[in-house]
Amino acid sequence: MSIIQIIISAIYLVGMIGFISVFALVAIWLERKVSAHVQDRLGPMETGGWHGWSQTIADMLKLLLKEDVVPDAADKPLFKLAPYIAFTGSLAAFAVLPMSANLIGTDLNIGIYYLIAVSSLVTISIIMAGWASNNKWSLFGAMRAASQMLNYEIPVALSLLVPILIVGSLSMQELVGAQAGGFWNWTIFGAHLGGGSFLLLPFTILAFVIYFWSSLAEVNRTPFDLPEGESEIIGFQVEYSAMRFAMFYLTEFANMFLVSGVAVALFLGGWHAPLPFLEISPETSILFHNLIGLGWFVLKAMILVVIQMWLRWTLPRLRVDQLMHICWKVFIPFSLANVLVVSLLAVLQS
């Protein structure tokens, strides 16, 4: 690896951290607005003038300046390390997220596999945080998080197998590339198996729905926010304050973008525009090709993020047994059957 490559990677890394921070600031503000309007309120209106746009910036400054309290009985090294591991896990997954044609950390040939593996690191950090806090409620939250996230890895992986089977590759860029040329080529509409377009439609939509719902559980969002359970156990971050708490918060929103980004890349055409003429071809201008691609990617991901918020403020929290019921008795059988049917069709096709 040459020195130039290292420098480029470092710049990309810093850029990605910046992007995640800015996204988190916007998304937290948006979440407050969505929650407020769903409940016929207004949300933040004062800070910064126009609809309180700088409220989250003020909150971030507040969190930076607050005292960082570490409980006396906590396991201090683990307690201090946990939020950074959580953020590292989600940042590492961003390395293979194809933001545009050339804007990708590294296009591994096992990109999606790497992503599923490395994003599980968040589970470990949550258990670390819950255990090291030496607090019952933290531990409850951590146990719930562990069981929930490990269980929901299965339907996530199984439903992601469907586009992989259709395209026949594990590389993110190839998965996206196969969906070029208009929205009718997107995986969610069951394209890429020649004449089998309409035949695959129900299966790909089912895979997308299962992925989207399981990913909600992966990122601990309502209706699967048992590990946090703000109104009952508060969850694994109950002992955290200031910067470390902000780190967990940042990770949560980074993960929201991550799972939406994966859904966009695998099902919704990635950085390709819904209609071919809305794109600029790389021959005209490589820069604008990338910029427009990035715009489409972020736009699609943001729409999914807003749907996540919309769901959060619609549904109540599930009980633990209901959570397991949905995972083991609904999502897993359906996604297994789904994978079987799609692979059968893929074999028949070829």
Binding site: R41, L311, T314
Partner: protein, 205 residues
Amino acid sequence: MAGYFKDLYLGVTTVIAGMQVTFRHLFEKNITIQYPRVVKEMYPRARARLVNTISECECCYKCQRICPVNIFTITGIRAGKDEDLGMLPSGKPKQMHILEFDIDFSKCVYCGLCVDVCETKSLHWEAPQEVCTFTRGEMKISFADMPEEEKQRLLKQEAEKKAARAAAAAAKAAAGGAKPGAKPVPKKPVVKKDEGENAAEEKTE
């Protein structure tokens, strides 16, 4: 098995129904009132703050006597026959100088008895938007508008009158063969006692 699929169907349809409800609310009119900029009208009958129109008060002490928490401090002096203090709304002439009409509003329990009992309707509720104050002291409201010199003059006059009356009574007692023990007790104004009580309360608090 049928139950399983029925549950699934119910799950999907109710989630969709719920999302429709929340989507409608996204665009519904907000109920938030942005307080310092938009001030809501108070209800006309709200018990927010007691106000006494001092020119209409006949200083009958009824409000003071009925108040369960004893927050009125009233000092009135009967005017002489030749003094003209104007008219009350009822058409009767005003007979009392009001030297002092203070309420410690922080102790009020908002029962409204004093307003009910006031015959001239000079004591009434008002509903301003902002009744909060920064200190308890600011909640002590004074309604009497008599200037200090005038107050002193009236008090002196009253004391002189009292002395004169006491002297007259003493002379009368001396002339009338002295009933032993029947000392001329000048009638204490109720107010003085009341003030004492208030002061004691303050100390114990």
